[in-house]
């Protein structure tokens, strides 16, 4: 489903050159849940953002469902509608109601009729357990509720892949569970997911593979059972000692 070859992303500024993603190659199969973990500044968010072209990478190749996203003939907007993304700070549209947040892209991008888009939105909002708030504005919702709406908004486009960029990091602790539950449900339904997170429990329980990144490189690529019990890399061992 996703194939990444020798991906490089360099940030330049104030005379410093940071190789945020440094020669990463990996692939994510259809229906697979991959969790990316690592210390802050390790490039895991940047790596995820390269996967749907939000971050323009400097070298390498990202192929999604057979389409090279940096190809000269590729319509990046067409690729992005197949790749859902959930952000750390939700990024709901504050001037739209919950329902409009979920229907807008369906109408504008997928050109769906109002009735069809609303039905789809209602079904998804019910699924994420927030159907009673459809006519509220996002500012009236708690963080956990906002993030669930954001997930519904991404799912409304019928994406083939979902990217999660630290979806629970900005939430109050008691709201983390409700968002993780939705993500677990998605995983069990066979959605292809790439998740950047600090929730080790989620990684252990749901992930098929764990990528450990540090300084822009993928140091470990192993099933969670193996990664959490017997990490090979000393840096991964250090990291796990600190977070667990």
């Amino acid at each position: 489903m996703i194939e990444v070859k020798h991906l490089i992303k360099v940030f330049e500024g104030r005379g410093q050159v940071v190789r945020a993603v440094d020669d990463v190659s990996t692939q994510i199969a259809k229906g697979e849940v991959v969790v990316v973990i690592g210390p802050s500044g390790s490039g895991k968010s940047t790596f995820l953002r390269c996967l749907n072209g939000l971050e323009e990478f400097d070298d390498g190749q990202v192929v999604i469902d057979g389409i090279d996203i940096a190809g000269s003939a590729t319509n990046l907007n067409a690729v992005r509608r197949e790749v859902g993304m959930v952000f750390q700070h939700f990024n709901l549209f504050p001037h739209k109601t919950v329902l409009e947040n979920v229907t807008l892209a369906q109408r504008v991008v997928r050109k769906r009729e109002a009735v069809e888009a609303t039905d789809k939105a209602m079904a998804l909002l019910t699924k994420v357990g927030i159907a009673e708030k459809t006519n509220e504005y996002p500012s009236r919702l708690s963080g956990g509720q906002q993030q669930r709406v954001a997930i519904a908004r991404a799912l409304a486009m019928d994406p083939k892949v979902m990217l999660f960029d630290e979806p629970t990091s900005a939430l109050d602790p008691e709201m983390v569970g409700e968002v993780l539950d939705v993500m677990k449900q998605l995983a069990s339904e066979g959605m292809t997911m790439a998740v950047v997170t600090h929730e080790m429990g989620f990684a252990r329980e749901v992930a098929q593979r764990v990528l450990f990144m540090d300084a822009g490189k993928v140091l470990e690529d192993a099933p969670p059972a193996k990664f959490f019990t017997a990490p090979k890399e000393p840096r991964a061992q250090m990291f796990l000692k600190q977070v667990l």
């Binding site: 749907n52 939000l54 907007n77 067409a78 992005r80 509608r81 197949e82 790749v83 859902g84 993304m85 952000f87 700070h89 990024n91 709901l92 549209f93 504050p94 001037h95 739209k96 109601t97 807008l104 892209a105 504008v108 991008v109 504005y137 500012s139 954001a150 908004r153 991404a154 486009m157």
Partner: protein
């Protein structure tokens, strides 16, 4: 512990009244000093007045009958050359002939009165539509220039910066002269078009900066969320960024448009008969200098406060999603 008592407001409100009264008295004394004779009764006629149109006999003949019907009188005239009688309607109190009188051709029978719009009303209307036309065009220019200003294309950005700096760095009065005497002559423009053009370009430059600031104040995450859903740059602008930016810049935009109404008085220098020019013209015939200028000022104040109330209402409507 008892709650802290709020200090009384009434002494200060009393002071306010005293100060305002003092100002009014000062104004009155000042006009006494210059021996100015106030003639407020002359002002209303410049808003609207009754025009008398003399009605004359279309031919020599005889009045055969006068039907007085309240304010109007129907005068039946029989031509002396023969033929059917003709009906002439005049105001009863202007009737100059009696029943049965012989009337020569073109002799005045009476008059009719019509309400006419006075020069102050006409000037006010010109000011209003001139400001709204320039405001609307200026908003469109400002939107385009503002978008060019943040464009990644250096040519577009350079043009926008040049335009904004040129307009903001020169006086509006000079711009109006240049627009009328230079551009207006080259392109053979009507003075009204030249006036609207100069005002639109002027307000467009300020609007561009306001809109640029508004767009840049919208968090990057909004654009990223929209783009990640597959929206194009234009769709993101139209559906996500501009509506939010517009809501934020409404107060400064409102201020800009209120200034525009006031600045529009400068177009009177190219002989557009707006409120200010009407006022000047009236003064030459009425000599009621103080009254007319106070009236003109009051009319500007009226328009600007109606507009600011309207925008305030709009702002509150937009605040629903906060």
């Amino acid at each position: 512990m008892p709650l802290k008592r709020r200090s009384a407001q009434w002494p200060w409100q009393g002071l306010l009244v005293v100060i305002l009264l003092g100002l009014a008295v000062g104004l009155w004394i000042a006009t006494k000093q210059v021996n100015y004779e106030w003639r407020w009764e002359r002002v209303p006629q410049y808003f609207a007045y009754q025009d008398e149109v003399a009605q004359v006999a279309p031919f020599a003949g005889r009045v055969v009958k006068i039907d007085a019907d309240g304010a109007y009188s129907q005068v039946h005239m029989l031509p002396s050359a023969g033929g059917s009688p003709v009906l002439i309607t005049v105001e009863t109190d202007t009737l100059k002939i009696a029943d049965g009188a012989q009337v020569a051709e073109d002799a005045e029978i009476g008059a009719t009165r019509h309400w006419r719009v006075g020069p102050l009303t006409e000037g006010l209307w010109v000011t209003i539509w001139l400001s709204f036309a320039s405001g609307f065009i200026g908003l469109i220019i400002g939107l385009i220039a503002g978008l060019c200003r943040i464009s990644k294309n250096p040519a577009l950005r350079g043009l926008a910066v040049l335009y904004i700096e040129l307009i903001r760095g020169t006086p509006l009065l000079v711009q109006i002269f240049i627009f009328y005497f230079f551009i207006g002559t080259v392109l053979n423009l009507d003075r009204t078009i030249a006036g609207i053009g100069a005002l639109s370009l002027f307000v467009g430059a300020y609007t561009a900066e306001i809109i640029r600031a508004g767009i840049q104040s919208i968090p990057k995450g909004q654009t990223e969320a929209a783009r990640s859903l597959g929206m194009s740059v234009a769709e993101t602008m139209i559906h996500i960024v501009l509506p939010q930016a517009f809501k934020r810049v409404l107060p400064p935009l409102a201020g800009q448009f209120i200034s525009l109404i006031k600045d529009s008085s400068l177009v009177s220098v190219i002989a557009i008969t707006d409120l200010t020019k009407s006022g000047r013209e009236i003064i030459t015939s009425s000599f009621a200098t103080f009254e007319i200028w106070f009236t003109v000022a009051l009319l500007y104040l009226l328009v600007t406060s109606v507009l600011s109330q309207l925008l305030f209402w709009l702002e509150r409507r937009f605040a629903r999603s906060d």
